[in-house]
């Protein structure tokens, strides 16, 4: 078994006990990256030299007998919408092709304090708009389990790298499912924390009231440790929570006896793939075996969540993306005057989906349509939130599929944006409510494609969903399966 196949917590112990060196580990993961990258194309930037230098620094520390922190010397990848000082941050857009941030995102500062090995920046849908990573301006990423299929998105590069073994862990961001859905498609664990649990400072904004950074990992234990590192209040983010951060790794027990699990009938929708439904229900029945209580619940406004999300997110995006105008940073396409320069820059350097969402957002915000669309969506958002508030009076967690289907084929969804938007039905409602959600591998489709079980928690109750996921993980071994590159379908 090669080193890249192991989860971080195992590798950490091996490093601490000097069974391996960080340099060996990093070289092995880089070798795996070289083996797979031609087919998977998870990365946009590989920082090979600094990665090896970071590994060697950790080895020196270990050799001198110093203790190491959890992530120290363990190679991981960062979604390319998280600002990394001195390393290009493109958001997979042509408009930021050469943008090098002069500052680190708060999560990067927190990570760097742990001295991990940063392998590079990974692919995504441009500005996190999409669910397949096909909207990257550079290249699509392929699902390591089935190369003709998408890895999901927008954090497709993060999920594919962790699944392929070209990273042990990764950070992604989730605005409407962008961590959980690719985690589900690629057979890894993906956690979207409560809005405000992790600082957004340095995360390039798509939709500010919905965005949240979270980990993608090999298993639940790694996800809990990663959350421990990145969670917490940040004075640079006024929306970050001041609530104390518990030790999420400590919360991982197998005890789910008496846990009340709600199954929202609206999430098991008509369009759902048969394999997905069967697999997810089978996973839920395991909980019953472990002594949990299963209740059917209703989240009656689920049917409106897609409309709400696809008005609020583009409206926020339309303003968030106004700054890309060729004036003080980013690329510029010349024009005879200022307005022409700005217009040429934006028209030529934003991709089609980004332009479409900007147009929808500005339409919803413009005079005459504001009340009918944007304001209406803000009100329905309240109703979606209230659904969860009511539900969580009865249950401790909510379970559902992460996505209605397994990974779809590249190009399959490109023609019809609305069809792709409807794919997000199980993931967007909790972004609207700000709640935490996790996707944990729970089996495969008949074609061998990974399927994820989504576990949704109360605000700031990541500990309970991690515990529930961990308890399930102990009953099977899906999380130990590495993708056989291109093996399926």
């Amino acid at each position: 078994m090669r080193l890249y196949e192991k989860p971080a917590h195992v590798l950490h112990d091996m490093l601490a006990q000097k069974e391996i060196t960080a340099a060996e580990l990093t070289r092995d993961v880089l070798a795996r990256l070289d083996e797979t990258e031609g087919q998977v194309q998870a990365y946009l930037t590989v920082t090979r030299e600094s990665a090896l230098a970071q590994a060697e620094a950790v080895d020196k520390k270990i050799a001198s007998g110093e203790e190491i922190s959890f992530l120290e010397g363990i190679p991981g990848a960062i979604k390319d919408n998280i600002c990394t000082k001195g390393t290009k941050t493109t958001c997979a857009s042509k408009i930021l092709e050469h943008f090098v941030p002069p500052y680190d995102a708060t999560v990067m500062e927190k990570l760097r304090a742990q001295q991990p090995v940063i392998l590079g920046k990974v692919n995504m849908d441009e500005f996190a708009m999409g669910g397949s990573t096909e909207n990257s301006a550079y290249h699509p990423t392929h699902n390591p389990w089935a190369l003709e299929r998408v890895p999901g998105g927008s954090s497709g590069g993060s999920a594919a790298a962790v699944a392929a073994g070209s990273a042990i862990w990764a950070l992604g961001s989730d605005t409407g499912g962008s961590i959980r859905q690719p985690a589900s498609f690629c057979g890894v664990v993906g956690l979207k924390p409560t809005y405000g649990r992790v600082s957004r400072y340095g995360l390039v904004a798509y939709a500010s009231s919905l965005d949240q950074i979270g980990p993608l990992a090999r298993d639940v234990t790694d996800a809990a440790h990663l959350l421990n590192i990145i969670a917490g209040h940040d004075e640079m983010d006024s929306t970050s929570s001041t609530a104390p951060v518990p030790d999420y790794a400590q919360a991982l027990t197998e005890d789910v006896k008496g846990l009340k699990i709600g199954l929202p009938k609206e999430y098991f929708t008509e369009g759902m793939d048969g394999d997905v439904e069967k697999t997810v229900r089978a996973a839920i029945s395991k909980y019953k075996d472990m002594g949990a209580e299963i209740l059917e619940i209703s989240l009656p406004h689920t049917a409106y969540a897609i409309s709400t999300y696809y008005l609020i997110a583009p409206a926020e995006a339309a303003t968030n993306l106004e700054r890309y105008d060729g004036v003080s940073y980013g690329e510029r396409v010349d024009g005879e005057d200022l307005v022409q320069m700005m217009t040429n820059t934006r028209t030529q350097l934003f991709g089609e989906e980004v332009r479409r969402r900007i147009m929808i957002g500005n339409y919803a915000l413009s005079a005459g349509y504001y009340d009918a669309y944007y304001l209406k969506a803000l009100k329905v958002r309240t109703l979606v939130q209230q659904d969860y508030t009511e539900a969580f009076k009865q249950v401790d967690v909510i379970m559902a599929p992460t996505a209605p289907t397994p990974a779809f084929r590249l190009g399959e969804m490109m023609a019809d944006p609305l069809q792709l938007y409807l794919q997000d039905v199980c993931t967007v409602p909790l972004n609207l409510a700000g709640l935490p959600g996790l996707s944990v591998p729970c089996g495969y489709s008949s074609k061998g494609l990974p399927i994820g079980l989504q576990i949704i928690g109360k605000a700031l109750d990541e500990a309970t969903i991690l515990r529930a996921a961990y308890a399930y993980e102990q009953t099977q071994s899906f999380h130990n399966d590495m993708a056989r590159i291109g093996g399926n379908d």
Partner: protein, 96 residues
């Protein structure tokens, strides 16, 4: 059609995007389909519902009035497409 050519032209100006004739038709079709779907929201009576702007209820988050280090000018200008004498340089401004 809910979305007119005029809407597309107006929204394009607001978005600082140029939309060609051919694209305008495509946008119109797509946006029309999306906005028609979104009309399902009008089924809901939201007369007495308060809008939600913030994901979680928070208030009064302030910073003390204490100076922090600024970027040095070179770092501030490092990503500029065009610069001149320590300034960001832009083409002529026709409108005020």
């Amino acid at each position: 059609m809910k979305v007119t050519k005029e809407d597309i032209a107006n929204v394009a100006v607001l978005s600082r995007l140029s939309v060609s004739e051919a694209e305008a038709d495509k946008y119109m079709g797509q946006m029309d389909k999306i906005l028609t779907y979104m009309d399902n929201l009008s089924q809901l009576d939201t007369e007495s519902v308060k809008p939600t702007t913030y994901a979680l209820p928070m208030q009064n988050v302030f910073r003390e009035d204490v100076v922090r280090e600024s970027l040095d000018r070179e770092a501030a200008l490092a990503n500029a497409p065009l610069r001149e004498d320590g300034y960001f340089k832009v083409p002529k401004v026709l409108e005020g």
